[in-house]
Amino acid sequence: MLSAMTVTVRPLRVVVALLASAVIGATALVGCDDDKTTAPTPSPTSASDPTTVSGAPTLTMRPARLETRLVRLAGHLPRERRRSVVASIARPVRSWLRAGFVGGDYPRRDFPGAFADYTRDAARLASRQDEVTTNAALGADLVDVVPTRRTVRLSVFAPHGRAAGATADVTLVLLGIRADESEVELAVTGQLYLTRDGGWQVFGFDLARTLGAPGSYERRRR
């Protein structure tokens, strides 16, 4: 298993640490990642105004951009490196959202590559719960999807000037249309846990999925 270690608390001033933590933690870096999806060409029309292409109803509303934001930096990370570090951490999250929900053609049952950036064990655990960790539960009934909200809020642990671990608070709201042109809204929220072991990988997750009528996620938030 793991080698023995010694962890010894040094007599330092925690108050100073907390103050510094608050100052650094308040430093937020915002990044918007315009994640192109395979959703239909953006159009200003609403979700309730689907058009028909090749006989199948599709959604033509504009897909929400993927917004990635650093909300807490616990430790030290040179300012000039933060944007690239955030992008590196967000990459496996974005990959999961694309392969597991947003990308590809519907209808479908399989979501290959959804866990490509998960550790092997985490991928195995996630595959067993694919009704939440992907769109497997609905995929076969949908002919099209479009994300209406995609946010990733990162909290990064960087104790020695290098990011070592991170929590990604994820919100994905997806509008799906069925063959009979009825609509359903899928919301996936929760956290992914990531560490940098070579590249950044997801080693854990705690997610929740809800279904509802279009707009129900925003109504619940109000």
Partner: protein
């Protein structure tokens, strides 16, 4: 004409009624039910070691100016956690347990840290319990206290009431700050079973402290903030990636699913000092029982 008047009267009455109703009944927006009932599906998973992770938690007896890692271990707990199930077992080892210390013969187990630091303390515990810890965590009085302050105190459950100057502990739940926490985990003279009850209290404090830490970690960035504070004030022999993963593993433990036991023993004298002859059969039984899943099928015997 009468018909017209009667019709006018009826319409007037109807109009008044409608007006009254219109004024007294709220509009349609007010009584709208804005609640919702939503089915939530959950998925959880964590890539951790498949077995039980064993952590040896030591409280050093070092006084100011004394080396924390080469002072006696005042509290000794072997903690097994099973991140997959959320179970954990805390086994308290009486500090005066008279056991074999590798390379030093028989002595009190808390002396092992003086002879050879946490590594030798871990070896002595392994010899006694049959379990080699994966990690050894050592803290001092003052840093334990500071850590409690940094997480906003702890709601600790006490089986006994006792008081010290300026600090009173009630039976039941007590919110303790860093100073009060130190009193709680150090008191033994006012407890019915002395050092055994103190060891049990220390285990209880770990359970309640975990509950508090979990609350902090549930906030956005809470774990990262707490870990950074921890890492900034600790000597850590593992990399930050492993530390981060270990923290996530520990947070999988459900405080409701923790067994907190203390190894029994009888008191005698050896070399002129009062020592405890630990029930080694019980110690091995605990270790064997909890070894595979961090649960004690029979609880604390």
């Amino acid at each position: 004409m009468n018909n017209v008047r009667a019709r006018l009267r009826r319409w007037t009455v109807l109009g008044v009624v409608l007006a009254v109703v219109g004024l007294t009944v709220p509009d349609s927006a007010t009584p709208r039910f804005d609640g919702s009932l939503v089915k939530v599906e959950n998925a959880r998973g964590l890539d951790t070691d498949p077995g039980v992770v064993w952590i040896l938690a030591l409280g050093s007896d070092a006084r100011p100016g004394e080396p924390v890692l080469r002072s006696r271990a005042d509290s000794i707990h072997l903690v097994g956690i099973n991140p997959r199930t959320g179970h954990a077992t805390i086994i308290g080892i009486p500090r005066d347990s008279y056991v074999d210390i590798p390379g030093y013969g028989r002595d009190k187990i808390n002396a092992a840290m003086v002879y050879g630091g946490p590594q030798l303390e871990a070896a002595a515990v392994a010899g006694m319990m049959g379990i080699t810890p994966d990690y050894v965590f050592t803290t001092s009085f003052w840093d334990f206290s500071r850590m409690v302050w940094s997480i906003g105190g702890v709601d600790v459950h006490s089986a006994h009431a006792f008081s010290e100057p300026l600090v009173t502990i009630r039976e039941g739940v007590n919110h303790v700050n860093g100073v009060e926490a130190l009193v709680f985990v150090r008191e033994r003279y006012q407890l019915p079973n002395g050092d055994f009850d103190r060891s049990r209290n220390q285990g209880q404090f770990m359970v309640d402290g975990l509950r508090q830490v979990a609350g902090v970690a549930a906030e956005s960035g809470g774990l990262e903030r707490a870990l950074w504070t921890f890492a900034k004030h600790t000597d850590i022999d593992v990399g930050p990636v492993e530390l981060y993963r270990l923290a996530r593993a520990v947070l999988q433990v459900d405080p409701q699913l923790v067994d907190n036991c203390v190894i029994d023993g009888g008191t005698t004298f050896a070399g002129g000092a009062s020592v405890v002859l630990p029930d080694l059969g019980q110690a091995r039984a605990y270790a064997q029982d909890a070894g595979s899943d961090a649960t004690l099928a029979s609880g604390c015997s």
